[in-house]
Amino acid sequence: MSSRQLSRTDHVGLHPKPGEAFLGMPPFPQAAHVALGDDQLRRNLGHATSTIRTKRLRAVGEVPDWEELRLAGASIKDHTLANLDRYLIEFEAAATAAGATVHWAADAEEACAIGVAIARSHNTSEVVKVKSMATQEIELNEALAAAGIDAWETDLAELIVQLGGDTPSHFLVPAIHRNRNEIADIFRDRMAEVGRPAPDDLTAEPRRLAEAARLHLREKFLRAKVAFSGANFAVAETGTLVVVESEGNGRMCLTLPEVLVSVVGIEKIVPSFADLEVFLQLLPRSSTAERMNPYTTMWTGVTPGDGPQEVHVILLDNGRTRALADRVGRQALRCIRCSACLNVCPVYERVGGHAYGSVYPGPIGAILNPLLHGVSDPHDAALPFASSLCGACYEACPVAIDIPTVLIEQRAEAVREKAGHPGPPDPERLGMQAAGWAFGKAQRLNRLQRLAARFRGVASRIRWLPGLLGGWTRYRAMPEIPQESFRRWWSERGSGRSGLDTVDASADLLDQRRSSSERSQRPPQRRSSTEQGQPPPQRRSSSERSERVETSEETEQ
């Protein structure tokens, strides 16, 4: 654990402010280092993610056809993405026929311009908002502010984040980095500046905090003329939009104001209304670990006399077609933003969302950001490495996005990108070149191995290495250099015995190191990861397995 103590002002760097959204953030490795030193953050995250992991397993375990639903969810999304042009046009036609106005935006700037123009045309100085990843991604609040329009976040956690002056760190519980006492402080300090003040006798009890938010926001809901939202799903067949939520702030925004503007990523399309039967089972159980979330609203254009009478939809690209063009990576566009991968990720659990430097944190963010923007930026280029490749995210993903495979693909791309832009000498590249040279010829390798064996005694006493190699010695002992290489041992003993016997003998050796229960459960190629002297496991659930794997990351790679 780092001995560095963070003062309150250090949080400014760690929890970036909206507007300068993540611009001042260091790339992942440095940001993660700072986050790891924040004991409060780690406690908040550890508690929250372990609670939700346990609950999710229960909610998912209840569904007998969960794997079939995952398969359906993945295949519906794949089918839609492959035919996306057709379904987008179908959605546009159906929504328009139902009275909505459909706009298209190639990037964030265009989407914000459309949103600001609609708000301005109603002469309003404020709008209310439902929590939405898409509007955060395009920084709509900042664009509205620049036009003199206040955008009030109405989700409790978003309100905490907005009043606290930082940015979300999780899709589902954006204020996961704050505990109840910090939240009570924020409400007491800031609510009065922007509306109804917090009650004088406010305590840190969650029920009281929720009530303070209810009272504070109710007056805003009642007077708002314009609301902004995202959408969880957009149905091509009917032109219907769907918002899945818990608190009722979504219903307020989607029902009360006269004008509703929804910013919808083009990957949110599903072909038919019936397809919702799959996602309404997958999403709530994966995200909040509930059988069903408290409220889901579905609306199709304008319903005369009921709800907003002016309805806009902004279909947003902003890098999605870039991701769609990536044969391996396009599966990331299946994502339904449930956040299950964040909660099971051993890296996210320790560093939190802000270190990822994007509105999309965690494993999905590690692949989505480079797909949306490319890896030319150092922030995005660092993200594919922000993983131990343990695979827990893939297992938890309700639409079966194979995040580890995409990460590996992107690591390769990040290396290719770097190779294409020769810069100052880089120790990693030099090391790889040296290794390439050493492994290039068998004789050369032989000679080097013999040479290395002579330094066995010295190597075993090394406790510290400089530079890049220090990354190893900081946390681990130096590996022992064997007396002779495998190749040499093989050639010396190989003459007297058949190859088959030799293989059996080494397999026996491995068996002695393992417990009998382990042998019956794990395929032989996974054996190496169990040789860490851990107790013999009984039947393991997926979350337990993910915890094990993180302790043996070197062997898994």
Partner: protein, 209 residues
Amino acid sequence: MNARERVLSAVRSATHGAGDPDIVRQYRTELDPTELGEHSDIVDLFVERVDDYRAEVHVIASSELALRLGQILGEHKVRSLVVPADIDARWLSTTHARLVRDAPDVTAAQLDEVDAVVTGCAVAVAVTGTIVLDGGPIQGRRIISLVPDLHVCVVPVSAIVGSVPEAVGRLDGTRPLTWISGPSATSDIELDRVEGVHGPRTLVVLVVR
């Protein structure tokens, strides 16, 4: 080229050669018998699941609806009540609350002064304990089931289906739909579930056999 054409042409070039993956539907559309557990039927299951959300749920006979409705409104000290315009007048024969009938000119500010709402529903899902309103008979506009702090929902057993796919099959996607599973809630503070943020903080479900 306008934004629409730019986005669509980028989509087309990105998906060029992507083929046409089939949709695989091997999941169940009806309730699996194991999901019933110890419950005798889907009505029983629905009641248990609604209760699990910490909503108040009662199973009553249709003959006692008016009586029980009056009792429940009394227990919750309801002094004013909004109802859909097409509500059966007999339901309200035992309540003394001030009545507001839903109409296009009833504003959100007026509803904010009303204690409770009584509605029917379109469909209910047993396995998830969900009720769905679609703006049809005895449901009124979406706003009336949202602004008051107490929502009493009358669910005839004929509206209850076992699974989510069965419910989706019964609904018309082009109607304004609200799926309600328990009272308004949040887990935003340290992932502790707290009932009651912006929607009705109390949900009472009356299942009518």
